[in-house]
């Protein structure tokens, strides 16, 4: 039974969804704009007899996640951009040792200490495997408080299914705003997959050795190849996106998270004015919905990527559509950065200008 909607901050909804998904252990470190999430976990994890530690650093928090998950627990950490940079060490190890866990990045503006206002400048870091080595992990981008809760809940299951870290890539706006949210029901223990491979499980019939270290180059190559086969399976099974009024659109916004919300407003305003705009919103940033975008390009669509950055996702969009339709599909970009959220009006004005230019 779906619960009644309640009014929650994005950061708190993420925390509650994690608890309902059976998060056994949370490790965090203070950083704005995600502090409500750590505080929510401090209260509610401890109240329910679970593990909460305010770590000495982001680096340590991520290795605590690595340890707790290696020992069979559903583990999670959250932070914002500069803190996520620090976590990259442990994320690379978790990817190399096939350790499931959930990571939340409530992005703020960079580079460096940057600012604390919402931004989308960590797209490259999140989707390219932000640490060292050849790897990817799943990246989910919520557009609302509801979706932040839903995707966090889903992230735990995906992490277990694919044995990899799953990142929820939100931003300061999603984290800080309040919206109505209907929370998913608490996961029943029987719905949780077993982890016979975990240290101390006693269930694999052999010694369980968690490690990302393989010194024989051919053996390491083979293990990476096998991980890439899994990546291909994930791309096939779990690419997710939303389309709004794309079918007859003369121009399609491509945007995720907060910038997609802005574009949705622009689409609605345009439609009221008789202008045919649409929105394509990737929900999985990795795997990126390249195939669908390519087929839209073949169908003759032109695209305007909108991001709260100087243009990062737009590169994936160009890779997706270049070569489709026998040539490069028209892709334009508009972005604000530094923590500035674009307005519906300015996004709509850019779209109108492009359509005028081409007509």
């Amino acid at each position: 039974m779906v619960e009644e909607k309640r009014l929650m901050k994005g950061n708190e909804a993420i925390g509650e969804a994690a608890i309902r998904a059976g998060c056994d252990a949370y490790f965090g470190y203070p950083i704005t704009p995600q502090n409500e999430l750590t505080a929510y976990m401090a209260k509610n994890m401890l109240d329910s007899g679970r593990i909460f530690i305010q770590a000495e650093s982001e680096v340590a928090a991520m290795s605590m996640v690595f340890g707790a998950s290696s020992a069979g627990g559903r583990a999670m950490t959250s932070s914002s951009s500069p803190g996520v940079s620090l976590k990259q060490e442990g994320i690379s190890y978790a990817c190399g040792a096939d350790i499931p866990c959930v990571l939340v990045n409530v992005q703020r503006a960079g580079p460096g200490l940057g600012g604390i206002a919402p931004a989308q400048g960590d797209y490259f870091q999140a989707t390219r495997g932000g640490g060292h080595g050849d790897y990817y992990h799943i990246v989910l981008a919520p557009k609302s408080v509801q979706e932040a809760a839903d995707l966090t809940y889903e992230a735990f299951g995906l992490a277990d299914k694919w044995r990899m870290p799953v990142m929820v890539l939100a931003d300061g706006l999603i984290g800080q705003m309040m919206e109505g949210v209907a929370l998913p029901p608490p996961l029943k223990p029987v719905e949780r997959p077993d982890r016979p491979w975990a240290a101390g499980s006693g269930k694999s019939g052999a010694r369980n050795r968690i490690s990302s270290c393989i010194l024989d180059p051919e053996a390491l190559e083979a293990s990476i190849h096998s991980r890439y086969e899994r990546y291909a399976a994930i791309a096939k099974e779990h690419t997710s996106f939303e389309e709004v009024e794309v079918e007859d659109a003369e121009l399609v916004f491509v945007a995720y998270g907060t910038s997609a919300r802005v574009c949705l407003g622009a689409v609605q305003a345009a439609r009221e004015a008789g202008l045919k705009l649409g929105l394509f919103r990737p929900i999985t940033l990795w795997p990126f919905p390249s195939e669908r975008l390519a087929s839209l390009a073949v169908a003759g669509k032109r695209f305007l990527a909108v991001e709260m950055s100087m243009g990062q996702m737009v590169q994936d969009l160009r890779l997706a559509v270049n070569g489709a339709a026998g040539g490069a599909a028209p892709v334009d970009f508009f972005g604000r950065c530094g923590g500035v959220v674009p307005s519906e009006e300015e996004v709509l004005a850019v779209a109108k200008k492009l359509l005028r230019r081409d007509s």
Binding site: A199, R207, S212
Partner: protein
């Protein structure tokens, strides 16, 4: 006839990759013997660090977790919190524990995490080929201190006495320093390890056993010269014994 000395059950029977005269083999054996004596092999998890002891997962017959350099105490925290009924052994060298992982060590100790750290102090980086460690003695040569560690003009700092540093923290309950340079010290070291493991199984606070250990290869000495140097140069600086014992059993005869 009674068998008094055999291969420990908790160690795999393979030839090790450790150099001739290295202390890791003896220390591995001591840890394994204590695990056997306590009957907890199937309830033990060992963290093998970055450094020479990364090989530990080839040798210990128990579940193992290999973690980023220096993060061993952070990962051990996660493991022990998840599996409080297991014996969690955090095996670390001096670079891992006292340089790149200082923050993790201090804070795990300060939280009173209920795992045991086996801290192998050989005053050098072994795996990477003999660089200066935080525990390198003043004047001791290393590839990154070619004229010897110089805390003065070269600003290389002083060797860190880890047990004494951690002793000020409320969360630490048992801190002992042993050595594997001779049979007497080997036996005492085994007792320290046993006390620390027993304390962990009773759920008492943070315990650490530091073990002075020879590294002939990177000290550029013969194995016998290395144990002699350990006794003549390391032990006077790194005092052996129980540096802090606040265990519930401390009334037992002191070693």
């Amino acid at each position: 006839m009674e068998l008094r000395y055999g291969h420990p059950k908790s160690l795999v029977s393979v030839q090790s990759k450790y150099c001739p005269g290295c202390g890791h083999g003896v220390i591995h054996r001591l840890v394994a013997e204590v695990v056997d004596e306590l009957g907890v092999q199937e309830k033990s998890i060992l963290l093998n660090p970055v450094g020479c002891a990364i090989w530990a997962d080839l040798y210990f017959d128990m579940d193992t977790v290999q973690v980023p350099h220096g993060r061993t105490p952070a990962a051990a925290t996660g493991i022990k919190r998840m599996r409080p009924d297991h014996l969690v052994i955090c095996y670390q060298g001096d670079g891992d524990l006292a340089a790149i992982g200082t923050a993790e060590t201090v804070h795990a100790a300060n939280r009173g995490e209920k795992f045991t750290t086996i801290f192998v102090n050989n005053a050098i980086y072994g795996m990477t080929g003999g660089q200066m460690a935080p525990t390198t003695l003043v004047g001791q040569k290393a590839t990154t201190a070619p004229y010897g560690r110089d805390p003065g003009a070269a600003g290389m700092g002083y060797p860190i006495r880890v047990c004494e540093m951690l002793a000020t923290l409320e969360g630490t309950k048992y801190l002992a320093r042993g050595s594997v340079d001779n049979a007497v010290n080997v036996r005492k070291t085994k007792q320290y390890i046993k006390r620390a493991f027993e304390a962990q199984l009773r759920g008492e606070g943070f315990g650490l056993v530091e073990i002075l250990s020879p590294c002939p290869t990177n000290w550029q000495m013969s194995p016998t010269a290395a144990v002699d140097w350990l006794a003549s140069d390391m032990i006077p600086y790194y005092r052996l014994g129980e540096i802090k014992n606040e265990l519930s059993t401390r009334e037992e005869a002191a070693l």
